[in-house]
């Protein structure tokens, strides 16, 4: 019970910083967020960390633990026995302070997605097997770990060209809803930059909600774009869409 664990926590802000080591007494089942709170209460009141529910429901406490994007509240310290635990803020977004990143870009991006539209009023008649597919996307807690790990956003900083995996999931949620009438395929083909994704599945790997982002959201959306823009037969016999889409302005430029 009296075992200790060493945390090396990034302390700093936009002007720079470095990791600082703290020793924390380990308790059974302790998660990284518990240890960070211990440091906050006993050694560094101003240690900035974002968190809400401590139950992996809210997605506030995303950070990087030994280089891996994770939720602090869901990461057990007994997985790191005998190691120093390095904790850094998410690297894809600008830092505010310590473990807190400025994730406002995500909220701006969310606004660019046209709202949910129905052509009929509730109550809707839908079978469970009709909604199973979209319900997976509703599991998203907006922790932005997928955005953090996406190399298009992280390594190439192409935030002006790609909305990122989180918003592919959001668009898939609307597009695959059995009764939704909006058409976001032109958005995907252009502004949202779906073709920037080259399906390396890193986002799927880090998703704490186990959403199969690449397989179930991104690839089916890519198929929709391909159907609408690149399939000559479908282009001839297209009935559903009222406006004729044009090809995307630019070809994908980034390859992981």
């Amino acid at each position: 019970m009296s075992e200790d664990i060493v945390l090396s926590i990034y302390r700093g802000d936009k002007s720079g910083g470095e990791e600082v080591r703290y020793t924390v007494p380990l308790t059974p089942g302790m998660v990284v967020l518990d240890a960070v709170h211990y440091v906050q209460a006993h050694e560094a009141q101003d240690l900035a960390v974002r968190w809400n529910c401590k139950a992996a429901h809210c997605g506030s406490c995303g950070a990087e633990i030994n280089g891996r994007p994770k939720l602090l509240c869901k990461t057990r310290l007994d997985d790191y026995q005998g190691q120093v635990v390095h904790i850094q803020p998410m690297q894809t977004f600008p830092i505010i302070k310590d473990l807190v990143s400025d994730v406002s870009w995500n909220y701006e991006t969310a606004k660019k997605i046209p709202a949910f539209q129905l052509s009929q009023s509730a109550p809707l008649q839908m079978q469970q097997f009709d909604v199973d597919r979209v319900q997976e996307f509703h599991h998203c807690i907006e922790c932005f770990l997928c955005q953090d790990t996406c190399h298009v956003l992280r390594d190439h900083d192409a935030k002006d060209q790609y909305f990122g995996p989180r918003f592919m999931v959001k668009i898939a949620e609307f597009e695959m809803h059995p009764r939704e009438t909006g058409d976001r395929v032109p958005l995907l083909a252009k502004q949202a930059g779906l073709d920037m994704c080259n399906v390396t599945k890193c986002c799927t790997e880090v998703c704490p909600q186990h959403i199969r982002i690449t397989d179930n959201a991104i690839i089916p959306l890519k198929e929709r774009v391909a159907d609408q823009y690149w399939d000559p037969l479908r282009a001839l016999f297209r009935r559903k869409k009222t406006t004729t889409p044009t090809a995307p302005d630019s070809a994908p430029t980034i390859r992981g």
């Binding site: 518990d34 529910c53 992996a56 429901h57 809210c58 302070k97 310590d98 509730a122 109550p123």
Partner: protein
């Protein structure tokens, strides 16, 4: 005039919503009609509010699976479980409007689980006469919040994230005029001027040590309103959810949805006895929360608790496929945080602080409070739940009354020509107060004061209460409040959790004292309020709500009396829908 005041950022709105959880977002969506400016302030990022923690479902009497259900039965269940100190009119409107508010969410993108006929699925929950809770697995609150979040961003609403309000400001006539706040990320002040405020800041479950509540539930809104002169009602009524996690220590108190029992889980003591058969043979595990929580507590006290002081909850008989489908969050939560596979083994649960039934006294039609221009909705408000809240009623509450508060504030703002004036000196004084902890060196540590507060509340105002214990607790709170005046912090204003905690602690201390005073005044046991020195529910006490305010202290206010046609619903001693179903049974 200080430089700080001269450079103060300021925004003006017709309607300002404080709190960006379910009730706040629903209010903002309602108030944001063309030509009306609406702002919404959240202490966290958008979509992170405590609403995400609601798991089991939203109560609305569609009758999709039990056709006898209807608003009368929902009303009956709500009043009966609230032990009749609820405001009947609030409960009546609520029961009527809940189905419509849930369907609205479906139109905005929420995808509820379905019945075989393709309708919204409804699950059973404690003390609901019928299967009534519309749900999405065990993450209904998140669905509701996310749906409202995306609805809100598609409207013309200005959203302020990670902003803490420190004071509500009134004009010389006593009308709401604005709020002073600061950005948590920079520590810079921001002033909001407004005609009307909707307070939707949630409850104060963080006041207790073992709690299912997220960090935000520190009662800021309740304390802001109380200090501004609002009436606070039923403060003694704190709900302890029967089933929180028990082990390991870091997750103690974390919610285990009532859905586990709703979907067929059984409770056992250490002797393997299904003890709820003894405490409530009729409703068993699905009795009301106050009863189940007290039963688990009594079993532990009698020495029949689990290794870490709780009861066993077992749902393994439903099979892994069913459990993973209906309770995926619970499955994952126990597996990752406690190394327990709930599809294969029983698991430990114990009561955890879950909800504050008391709060700002608000009127049924518009959510207006006693302060002109201040409206309250959701957990911060009071009147719907009485002495015990039914599971699923909080999500329905924030939809029904979020909408009504939005409408109320909108109508009020349109009746006012100009934004009321705020005295600049009051703003300056408040900025000084908020900055004060920086100049206290070697002061009290706000995090440790919070821990002490939680200990006091858990030991003196928990599930089981008594007069002497409450007196002692109140004295301790008063002493702690004195010490808290000396809370000091280090570091800069940039995202400084120590500084933020100072105001959380101040809010919680203010409300803690009100809980003790209410609990001392209510000399009986009713619903969640259990006093060993007054173990019975007393009819004469049932006539009163206890209302507290800065100006008038504590006073008894008569519980509103139901009109004849509503009172008649209770004459048979059974819910109207249940009676109807029995009559049909006889005919066939």
């Amino acid at each position: 005039m200080s430089t700080q005041f001269a450079t103060l950022e300021s925004h003006t709105f017709d309607v300002l919503v404080i709190g960006s959880g379910g009730a706040g977002l629903r209010a903002a969506v309602q108030a944001a009609v063309p030509g009306v400016s609406v702002g919404i302030i959240g202490k966290s990022l958008l979509g992170k509010a405590h609403t995400v923690m609601a798991e089991g479902g939203v109560a609305a009497s569609f009758g999709n699976v039990d056709r006898w259900d209807g608003w009368e039965t929902h009303f009956y269940d709500t009043m009966r479980s609230g032990h009749f100190i609820n405001d009947y009119r609030i409960a009546e409107i609520f029961a009527h409007e809940a189905p419509e508010r849930v369907l609205e969410l479906e139109e905005w993108g929420a995808v509820f689980d379905r019945t075989p006929e393709g309708k919204i699925m409804q699950r059973p929950f404690g003390a609901h006469s019928f299967r009534r809770l519309a749900h999405i697995g065990d993450r209904t609150g998140m669905e509701l919040l996310r749906t409202l979040q995306y609805k809100a961003i598609s409207q013309d609403i200005e959203i302020f994230q990670e902003v803490t309000v420190t004071k509500l400001l009134k004009d010389a006539a006593g009308r709401m005029a604005g709020a002073l706040a600061y950005y948590r990320s920079t520590g810079e002040f921001v002033l909001f001027r407004t005609k009307a405020i909707v307070l939707a800041t949630g409850g104060w479950g963080k006041i207790y040590k073992v709690t299912s509540n997220s960090w935000e539930s520190t009662g800021d809104g309740g304390a802001l309103a109380y200090r501004a002169g609002a009436e606070m009602m039923d403060m003694e009524m704190v709900q302890f959810h029967p089933t929180g996690m028990v082990w390991p220590p870091g997750v103690r108190g974390l919610l285990v949805t009532e859905g586990v029992r709703g979907e067929g889980g059984f409770l056992y003591n250490s002797e393997g006895e299904r003890f709820m058969l003894r405490y409530d043979p009729e409703r068993k595990e699905l009795s009301s929360r106050d009863v189940v929580a007290r039963s688990i507590y009594k079993e532990v006290q009698a020495g029949r608790g689990t290794p870490h002081g709780g009861a066993w909850l077992d749902i393994t008989h439903k099979g892994p496929e069913f459990i993973k489908r209906k309770l995926p969050g619970m499955y994952e939560q126990y597996l990752t945080l406690a190394d327990v596979d709930i599809t294969k083994e029983k698991f430990e649960v114990a009561p955890t602080c879950h909800y504050t039934m008391g709060g700002v006294r608000a009127e049924a039609e518009t959510c207006a409070t006693n302060i002109p221009g201040l409206f309250a909705a959701g957990e911060v408000a009071c009147g719907l739940h009485g002495a015990n809240r039914l599971g699923g009623n909080s999500l329905a509450d924030l939809l029904v009354y979020g909408k009504r508060a939005g409408e109320g504030a909108l109508a009020y703002s349109q009746s006012i020509a100009e934004v009321p004036t705020i005295d600049p000196q009051e703003i300056e004084a408040e900025m000084e107060r908020v900055m004060a902890p920086f100049s206290i060196t070697h002061g009290e540590n706000p995090f440790l004061i919070h821990e002490e507060l939680q200990d006091i509340m858990s030991n003196h105002a928990g599930i089981m209460r008594s007069g002497p214990d409450l007196e002692e607790g109140l004295a301790k709170i008063q002493a702690l409040t004195e010490r808290s005046a000396n809370m000091g912090i280090t570091g800069s204003r940039v995202y400084n959790p120590g500084w933020h905690a100072v105001f959380d602690v101040q809010s919680m201390l203010a409300l803690a004292a009100l809980i003790f005073r209410g609990a001392l005044a209510r000399k009986e046991s009713r619903g969640a309020h259990w006093r060993t020195d007054y173990p019975d529910e007393l009819p004469e006490m049932g006539q009163w709500n206890f209302v507290q305010s800065v100006d008038a202290g504590i006073k008894e206010v008569p519980v509103p009396q139901m009109p004849e046609e509503l009172a008649r619903l209770f004459e048979r001693g059974m819910a109207p829908g249940v009676w109807k179903s029995q009559q049909e049974g006889k005919e066939n």
